[in-house]
Each structure stands twice: as C-alpha cells, then as structure tokens.
C-alpha cells in the first residue's frame, strides 16, 4: 500500500515545495506627501505582498526649516513664539520645555503659581493634542463622526486657551521665569466646567469607538510590539506604554510640580494598536484629574501670588538639558549657551521623529487597510519631526 501512495505523496510534496517557492510580485506603494492618510507632509513607502505590508520606509524632511539653526540667530525670549510653531497641536508643551531648559541654565526657580498654571496649560494642551489624534484615528478607520465630535470638544479647550492667553493654538504663553499673564477672572470656574463637560462628551465618543465592534476589530490584535522592541526602537509616550513599558516622565522624572499632583499612569502590556489607543483615551481622563487638582492649588495660592519672575537676559555658559512628557512622548531640549543673549546651540528631540522611524516595525505584517490606522497611533505632526 505504501508503494502505491508514495508517488502521490512525492508529487504532493513537490507541489508544496513549488508553492513555498512561488513568489508573487511585491510592489511599492507610495503614500504621500499628497495622500489623505498622511496628516502632514510626509511620505510612507510601503512594500506590499498582495494586501499585506512587508516593508515600510517613511520619508520625512519636506518641512525642514532649520529650526535649531534659526534659534542661534535670536535672543532667548524671541525663541518662545518659535517654539510654539514646532507643533501646532502641542505648542504649549514645547514652549514650556524651552522655558524650563533656559531656566535650568539660568539656575532659577519659578514661583509655585506659575508651575501650577503651566501644569494646567500643559494638560489642556495634552487633551487638545489627544483629541486631534482621536479625530485622526476616527477618519483613518473610516468614521467621520468621531472626527467631528472630537474636534467639537477640542474647540471648547481652544476657547479656554483664548481666554487665558489670547490665542487659540500658537499660545506663546510660558515665559522664562513664569508665565505671560496671571489667570484671568473666572478662569478656574470656566476650566472646571469645561473639564466636567468634556468627560461626559468623551464617554459619547468612546461609545462610538469602543462599543463598535468594527472599529475595535480594526485595531485589536494588529501590529504587535513587545516591551523590548518598543524600548529599543525608541518608542516613547503612549505608544510605548501600550507596549508595557511602565514609564512616564511626569511621574518618574518629575519636572515643575508634577510630583505634587496625584495621577495614574495607564500601562497596558498587550502591545497592539488597540492598547495604544486605550492608553491615550485613559490619559485624557487623567489629564482632567490633574487639571482639577492643579486648579485647586492655584485657588489656594491666592490672587496676588507671584506668577512671573524677572529673568536675566544673558545665560551663563554651559550645557543643559531638560526633558518632558509631551502628548506624543518624550521631548528633550539640549541647550549650549556661551554667555551671550543668544543660544549657541539648541537641539530639540522630537518624540515623533523617533516614533515614526520605527514605522517598519509597526507596519510589518499589517494589511494595507490597517496601515493608516496603525500609523495614526503615532499621532503624526510634521512641525516637530522635521523641525
């Protein structure tokens, strides 16, 4: 009997070998810079085998303005509006980071009230940025309603920005030695109301996202990244915490007064796209908590507490760096000063620059339809990537 089967088995094996060897043509698809998925000017080249992506290569640099070189030409206060333009969604955090770095170089301590106001402004900015990201994820998954609902909520926070510092997005609010102006009248009332309202509205958006099996199944179980990989390729921020790295600069390396407010750092070990989504959503709730606590602290400090200290115009020579938890990850500024009123070199470490460099890791084995949904979790912003 074995003899009669043997040729058939051999033929089958041969066929199997042929099938294994058979190679379909792989093609490069170039997405961007004019593509609805690229939220900004960048290109993603993906190599696809049928519908499955096997390789990816991001191309950035269309927006390279030489930001770091430009700063060498300007006095210290003039760089603050420029730092706003690093990222339109997280302008407050970059200004804050810049001011912190210069303050560190000056060795000065800023008033308590300024620290808390900066925390409030930062967290509002974080919510803004996360809402923008939520909107992007919604559209990339094909649901425009999420986009508009998230943008609607963001509008209320932008109104808060207008009331606080007179501009919606390029806030230009933190200053070296404090903040631009004191909190305006009734600001604490407005912000608490907005936050309360926002939490209710966020549940509605979550109902659209998490209670829809279509959207969950689009994110669940794709683009796995392990903890070691995440740390090694330099993923930071929510993307990293979704992969199981329990690290948040606000908690583990606190700056300003983050060690005096109580909040949780969400960490998930799943490592898929959905985990990264969930981290950001939880962070919005935690930001609301931080805002509530910080506003209480501001109220306790009283109306006449100092909010801005006069800073000298010249920075003593030396090298200093500061890092902070940007909405998208770890941002770092490295300042080389030479004793004049202009920086000798200012380097910005943008979280997205590193996050997007790991696009290959994130996209491998993912279908074309999921590439936008996976890369939306980076929360792309080209202003800071290209600088």
């Amino acid at each position: 009997m074995a003899d009669s089967i043997a040729p058939i088995v051999a033929a089958e094996e041969k066929l199997q070998q042929q099938a294994d060897k058979m190679e379909t043509d792989k093609m490069w698809i170039i997405m961007g810079p004019q593509h609805p998925f690229s939220h900004g000017l960048w290109t993603l080249k993906i190599k696809v085998d049928g519908e499955i992506c096997v390789d990816a290569e991001p191309i950035v640099g269309y927006l390279h303005r030489g930001w770091e070189k430009e700063t060498e030409n300007r006095t210290y206060p003039k760089i603050i509006p420029m730092a706003d333009r690093l990222c339109y969604a997280a302008s407050m955090t970059y200004t804050h980071l810049y001011c912190m770095t210069v303050e560190k170089a000056l060795g000065m301590d800023i008033p308590e009230k300024a620290k808390y106001i900066r925390i409030v402004a930062d967290e509002v900015c974080r919510i803004n940025s996360h809402l923008m990201w939520l909107a992007a994820v919604g559209t990339d998954l094909g649901n425009l309603t999420v986009f508009l609902w998230a943008m609607r909520e963001r509008e209320y926070f932008l109104d808060l920005n207008v009331k606080l510092c007179g501009a919606r997005m390029t806030t230009n609010y933190p200053r070296i030695g404090g903040v631009r102006n004191d909190t305006t009248e009734l600001f604490d009332r407005d912000i608490l109301r907005t936050v309360d309202r926002f939490e209710k509205a966020l549940w509605e958006i979550i109902a659209l996202m998490d209670d829809s099996s279509i959207i969950v199944s689009r994110m669940k179980g794709i683009s796995y990244i392990t903890r070691e990989q995440a740390a090694n390729v330099g993923l930071t921020g929510p993307a990293m915490r979704g992969c199981g790295v329990d690290f948040d600069i606000r908690r583990d390396d606190p700056y300003d007064n983050y060690d005096k407010v109580d909040f949780e750092v969400p960490v998930l070990t799943e490592g898929d796209s959905y985990a990264r989504y969930m981290i950001r959503t939880e962070e919005m709730f935690q930001s609301c908590e931080i805002i509530r606590q910080a506003v209480k602290k501001i109220q306790a400090l009283g109306k006449n507490a100092p909010y801005r200290v006069k800073a000298p115009s010249r920075v003593p020579a030396g090298t200093h760096f500061m890092r902070m938890e940007d909405p998208r990850g770890e941002s770092l500024m490295y300042l080389v000063s030479d004793g004049t009123d202009k920086p000798y070199r200012l380097k910005v470490r943008s979280p997205i620059f590193t996050n997007v460099s790991s696009a290959k890791l994130q996209c491998q084995g993912v279908r074309i339809a999921d590439v936008p949904a996976v890369l939306a979790q980076i929360d792309m912003c080209l202003g800071e990537t290209d600088r």
Binding site: G178, N181, A207, S213, T281, K310
Partner: protein, 247 residues
C-alpha cells in the same frame, strides 16, 4: 486615584449586537440637532466672542508712542520697522510700521511696549489683495476701540523680593533696568543723547580735556524718565553703556 476608562474597557467581545450602541448615540444627537442648532458657527454672519486680550493684529496709539523701537527690537519675525512719520504738529517723529504679511501675532510688541502705546486688537480678518496692502503704517495701525485689557502689561516679581518675603510686589520691567556708564570707555560723542526717545540723557560737562582744551561731556541718565529701551546701549560706539539688570 483610579483609572476611569480602563476600568470599564475593553468590553468583552462576547457581547452581541455590538454595533447598536454607536447608532443609538448618533441618533440621539441627530434628534437633538434637528430641533436645536448644531454647534457650528455660520462664520461670515456669526462670529465668536473674543476676549479683550485676543491677539489679533497689533494696534497703535499714535500720540502715546515715543518711538523707542522696543517693538521692533523684540519682534521675533522682524516685521516691525521704525519709520519717519508726521505728527499732528508737523514734526517728523519715529513710529512703528508693521508688515502683517510676516506678523506672527505673538503679541510681543504690546507686551514689551514701555508706554502701552502698542496694543493687541481683536481684529483678525486681515486679508488683502496685494502684499503691499498688508503694510500697516503708523496711522493705519490705530485702533479706536482700545480698552484697558488690550494693553498687555509686563509686570514681574523680582527674585530678590521673593527672597525678602515681599512676593506680592509686582513691578514693571521698564522701571527697573537702567543703563550704566563705564566712564573710562566713554568718548563723549553724544550719540546716546541723540537716540534717546524720551530725552532722559543729558550731556553734562565734567571738566576739560587737558590736551585739546575741549570740554569733557558725559551722559547723565534721568532714572525717572528712562524706559530702559536700550537704544543708547546699542548705539554706543565704544560699548561704554551697559544695561544693569535688577533681579
């Protein structure tokens, strides 16, 4: 402190009909917006309320301005240029001109104006047909509905005051820093007195030069009049004047 969202989600995949809830929420909003108005603002017809400190285009109080050039010095995009302009009494005075094509609306000009002549205004509809139209001269910069909130005050607390337990004292930056003369470097060229916008510098005779017999002139700064614009420091050919910072 506890997680709010991660406590409830992710929901178990076993829940049936998992597409009903989003539709219910959408339908709820639909029912609401059919009778109420949606949140969008019909822009050209309706406009959003903006607060006093809204940073639109810069505004200028022509008579208040002293032409010190502080705005031009602090402007991060270098869009402000000090130009000669004719005052009401026929004199030629220096006043800022703003190129709104480059303006980043950062509000530094209003913030650093020592006499509060420069203000922020809530005007943001600035489209013009040509780039030339975007040049706002000193007269065109005037904004007649200026309120107190539009004049951005630059008030700071001094570190020394905080250390002394006097933390609630706030002072204007422009009443603190004064230029200081290094006598040995000064050549008495009178340049500082010429460029001073508020005439705070008087050239005072301090003895006679032994070789040439000419009088030795030295600037004396009126501390009350000075607005610490540092024009004299910039124009000093021998770096004899230095800003003495009070911290």
């Amino acid at each position: 402190m506890a997680m709010k969202y991660l406590e409830k989600y992710p929901r178990s995949t076993a829940r049936g009909l998992w597409v009903i809830k989003p539709q219910w929420h959408v339908l709820k909003l639909f029912a609401k917006t059919v009778f109420h108005r949606p949140v969008t603002v019909l822009y050209p017809y309706e406009k959003e309320w903006v607060p006093d400190n809204y940073r639109g285009r810069p505004g200028l109080d022509f008579d208040k301005c002293v032409g010190c050039g502080m705005c031009a010095r602090m402007c991060p995009t270098a869009c402000i240029k000090i130009v000669d302009s004719e005052a009401a009494d026929g004199k030629t005075v220096k006043r800022p001109q703003v190129n709104l094509g480059r303006c980043a609306m950062c509000g530094y000009c209003a913030e650093y104006c020592p006499v509060d002549a420069m203000t922020v205004t809530p005007e943001y509809e600035l489209a013009e047909f040509t780039r030339f139209d975007l040049l706002y001269g000193p007269r065109r910069l005037a904004y007649d509905k200026t309120t107190e909130g539009m004049k951005v005050k630059l008030e700071v607390t001094l570190q020394s005051d905080i250390d002394n337990g006097n933390a609630e004292r706030r002072v204007s930056v422009f009443s603190l820093d004064r230029p200081e003369l290094t006598d040995a470097k000064c050549i008495g060229c009178k340049k500082c007195a010429k460029v001073c916008p508020v005439d705070a510098i008087q050239m005072v005779e301090k003895g006679t030069n032994e070789k040439t017999g000419k009088p030795i002139l030295r600037p004396v700064i009126d501390e009350v009049k000075c607005i610490s614009c540092s024009n004299c420091i910039d124009d000093c050919p021998k770096d004899a004047l230095v800003m003495k910072e009070v911290l």
